[in-house]
């Protein structure tokens, strides 16, 4: 046999701190993703009931495959495992709330193959998402100058905390942390409290994102339906909301003393009066459309594996790029309308510094959030020593994108006829439903969100059910109840409180408190203290960061 000349004992992995199984026969070249899965050493060594990551069947299959491969020569295909018997790999999805849920090509043996550019793009892509729609509103709430400053400051702050998350694994001595994600690190330092609290905050971010998605999807579906209906029936609709005149119309939906925008329209058309009223009754943004979505999305949530949807990842990138393009075109048409009033209120403009700025920081906490999955994303980087540099570049690009969209929308908002206060929490709402460019944007975003929604639901289900029941799909009833609860929350919010800016800032500040501010800093301080290297400046700075996070959360409720 040709294998006779190969050494019998080949250590697994090049990492000397890897306590992995001394695998009798694996050739290091076999590493590159030929091995379908991997048995944790703890399965053999530990007697406590730690939740294992690999099922008994998978572990038995692993042994079987190792053994069978010894019985034949490589040329003989007789005992190669066919695809249908291999256990499905634990699907690794990373998501950033409101960003893209992203399926990682799992090369979990740790030998990454992505160049820096790809890694930077992946991080940008995962972080970028629907929070971009609320940035102009956030800048408006904080004031133009303080908004820009806050975007930069929050970007740097969250970047630093992200850096702390990435480094947190390395400070753990004597344990093989190569497979760990940040919740595992929390569990190491804080025991099961850390595990449960990171699960809780992760759920907050996921469910918050799903609720925002539902509200936005109802919005976009409503507008799309309205546009199509009007287009088909050739209706020329003028909404009785204040807005600019002319071809690039910008409207101010909430001008009627602040309550939720109505969808009444005055109709000038040659069509059927009653038909239109019937349509208006059955196609209402907050009363009926949220319910129609249930028929489409609830079945999708019950699917066992949403890997089909991960293929549509590219829609997210296209949507963001298109939004940037749309913003540029609109600004070119509308021109710049800026006036600097430092602290005074004005009919049309907002002061440069406003007391409501914590609302922006709440939104930004979620907009810059990637701390729950940054380790997984950076793991596939080919040159690991460039991780910090690549992460910083990615954050810089994300900040730049947010800044650009926010500033341009804010600056080009036609202020003499309309007030800057009119900028909506979803800036697409400022364009009427018959505007072609925003119609296209809404369609893109609608499809993108419909494909990300099941992925987010899958992640929520896997994390929650695995923690409680040990099994990602215990029975159709458990899954159904969970999905109904999540969908119900979305529908309720769409019905009664469709203010995505509000939802984003509350959930952002909450889950940001744990993952961005408190845990990374606390873990860093504890690890330094254990190593005897805690200095006063480090202590003060990190306690300050924790207090900032707390203030961020409290301010959301007070202001």
């Amino acid at each position: 046999m040709e294998e006779d000349t190969k050494p019998l004992l080949v250590p697994v992995g090049g990492d000397e701190s890897n306590y992995g199984i001394m695998n009798i026969q694996f050739n290091p070249e076999d590493f590159k993703c030929k091995r379908p899965f991997h048995v944790e050493p703890t399965n053999i060594v530990s007697v406590n009931d730690d939740m294992q990551r690999v099922t008994d069947e998978a572990s038995a299959m692993n042994k079987r495959i190792h053994y069978y491969s010894r019985l034949t020569s490589p040329a003989d295909r007789a005992l190669i495992a066919p695809d249908h018997v291999l256990p499905a790999p634990d699907e690794i999805y990373v998501y950033s709330p409101l960003g893209t849920a992203f399926k990682v090509d799992s090369c979990t043996d740790g030998y990454g193959k992505n160049s820096s550019i790809v890694t930077i793009f992946m991080i940008w892509n995962t972080m970028m998402g629907t929070s971009i729609l609320s940035i102009p509103w956030g800048i408006k709430q904080a004031g133009f100058t303080s908004g820009i400053i806050l975007i930069l400051v929050m970007g740097i702050l969250t970047l630093y905390c992200c850096y702390r998350v990435v480094e947190s694994r390395k400070m753990i001595p004597l344990v093989d942390t190569s497979n760990w994600e940040f919740p595992d690190v929390c569990k190491y330092y804080f025991g099961s409290f850390g595990q449960w609290s990171s699960l809780l905050f992760s759920m907050v971010s996921l469910v918050g994102a799903m609720v925002v998605y539902w509200v936005l999807m109802s919005n976009f579906l409503f507008n799309t339906g309205k546009f199509i209906y009007n287009f088909i029936h050739d209706i020329n609709v003028t909404d009785i909301v204040p807005g600019t005149n002319g071809s690039n119309r910008v409207i101010c939906p909430s001008a009627t003393s602040g309550h939720t925008p109505q969808n009444r329209s005055v109709m000038f058309s040659s069509g059927n009066d009653t038909g239109f009223e019937l349509f208006e009754e059955w196609w209402n943004k907050s009363q009926t459309v949220p319910f129609y979505l249930i028929a489409v999305l609830l079945p999708l949530l019950n699917l066992k594996s949403p890997s089909f949807f991960a293929k549509f990842n590219v829609l997210g990138t296209i949507s963001v790029v298109y939004l940037v393009f749309l913003v540029t075109v609109k600004a070119a048409h509308l021109g710049i309308h800026l006036e600097y009033n430092w602290f005074a209120e004005n009919d049309f403009f907002v002061p440069e510094f406003r007391i409501l700025f914590p609302q922006l920081t709440g939104v930004l906490t979620l907009a810059f959030f990637i701390h729950n999955c940054v380790i997984t994303l950076l793991q596939n980087n080919k040159n690991q020593e460039n991780n910090v540099r690549d992460l910083s570049i990615a954050y810089f690009l994300v900040g730049l994108t947010y800044l650009y969209v926010g500033m341009i929308i804010f600056a080009s908002f036609p202020s003499p006829p309309l007030s800057k206060e009119c900028i909506e929490q979803n800036f697409l709402d400022n364009f009427p439903s018959d505007d072609i460019m925003s119609f296209v944007a809404r369609i893109f975003l609608l499809f993108q969100m419909m494909t990300v929604y099941p992925l987010l639901g899958y992640l929520a289900r896997v994390q929650l059910l695995r923690q409680f029941f040990g099994n990602a799909y215990p029975s159709i009833f458990h899954v159904l109840i969970l999905n109904v609860a999540i969908v119900g929350a979305g529908v309720a919010m769409a019905r009664f409180y469709p203010n995505i800016g509000g939802i984003i800032r509350y959930s952002g500040a909450t889950c940001g408190l744990a993952f961005v501010f408190v845990y990374p800093s606390l873990i860093y301080m504890i690890s330094l203290h254990r190593a005897g290297q805690l200095t006063w400046p480090a202590l003060i700075i990190h306690i300050f960061i924790i207090l900032l996070g707390l203030a961020n959360l409290i301010a959301q409720f007070l202001l």
């Binding site: 046999m1 019998l8 009798i24 026969q25 038995a60 190792h66 010894r70 019985l71 034949t72």
Partner: protein
């Protein structure tokens, strides 16, 4: 052509391509023979070195589906093949499109058995079940089992569904081996006494050549139900490595702060594995216990006459 004494054999039969060679390779941990399809049927008798359960010899025969030359050869050798057969294991490929023909060949084998070795035990394996959709497996197996039991009368056959890609193959062969041991209940009782005396967590008795579990005792629930097959695969893999060094595997001790496990030769046809969860008991003590038990169990084997005990030939 009778070549000296004809040894008692276990026949592994089935259509060409039904998976017998892979099965033998996996169970007996020997390298897969080079592509036998080119050579036509497996002509194995003179070269079979595989022995287990004492001096039983495993013979593979392709039955049915081959060309006329092989048919004639098979027919002319029939009496030779079917004489002194202890066990017939017949393998059916569940995906076969020629069910009628399969049954026909099976029945002709049964006729030969009835003529030459009417006391033989018959086992039918419905193989390659992984190719059937999971929710259909029970149904399809039940159908086949009913047909086979009906066709086998007056002989009795025991049916298993198997696949090399899950635990069913190992379990089926373990059941077969279990049924071939006449005094297995007594063996189990003695094993339990042994385990309780030495305060072991678990004691396993393996067949020596195949590491199929003959009998086991455990004093508390163990979490991993697949551990027998896993241990068997690990040891067989290790044996293969040893054989590359022209060494033969005799015994193994695995120990850490939580447990100590000993795998050692037991009787002439068995291996024992003892798992102790009290690591403070020194190895020497357990090894002495095993050595003393060995003598006792060998006596057990000699008590039953040669006709009745398969463990002694």
């Amino acid at each position: 052509n009778p070549k000296g004494a004809v040894k008692d054999s276990v026949l592994l039969m089935g259509k060409s391509g039904s998976g017998k060679t892979s099965m033998r390779s996996i169970i007996f941990a020997n390298y897969i023979a080079r592509d036998t399809r080119r050579l036509g049927a497996t002509i194995d008798v003179e070269h079979s070195h595989v022995r287990f359960l004492g001096n039983l010899v495993l013979n593979l025969w392709d039955c049915g589906g081959q060309d006329t030359f092989m048919e004639n050869y098979f027919t002319s050798q029939r009496d030779n093949i079917f004489r002194n057969v202890e066990v017939l294991i017949y393998v059916f490929d569940v995906e076969s499109r020629e069910l009628e023909k399969d049954m026909h060949y099976y029945q002709s084998c049964l006729e030969a058995i009835l003529q030459n070795s009417p006391d033989a035990k018959i086992f039918c394996l419905v193989h390659k079940m992984d190719l059937v959709q999971e929710d259909q497996r029970d149904l399809i197996f039940k159908e086949r089992e009913e047909d086979l039991k009906r066709l086998s009368r007056p002989l009795e056959c025991v049916c298993f569904r198997t696949s090399i890609w899950d635990e069913t193959l190992y379990k089926a062969w373990s059941s077969i081996v279990y049924q071939l041991i006449p005094n297995v209940q007594q063996l189990e009782m003695n094993l339990r006494n042994f385990a309780q005396i030495i305060e072991a967590d678990e004691v396993l008795l393996f067949e020596r050549a195949t590491f199929l579990v003959i009998s086991h005792y455990q004093c508390k629930e163990q979490r991993d139900v697949h551990r027998f097959e896993k241990i068997s695969n690990i040891i067989k893999q290790f044996k293969l490595s040893c054989s590359k060094l022209a060494a033969s595997f005799q015994s193994m001790e695995v120990r850490n702060s939580n447990f100590a496990a000993f795998i050692d030769i037991f009787t002439s046809n068995t291996y024992v594995m003892v798992v102790m969860s009290d690591p403070s008991i020194p190895s020497a003590a357990t090894l002495i216990n095993i050595r003393n038990a060995r003598k006792h169990f060998e006596k057990l084997e000699r008590v039953d006459g040669p006709k009745h005990s398969l463990l002694m030939r």
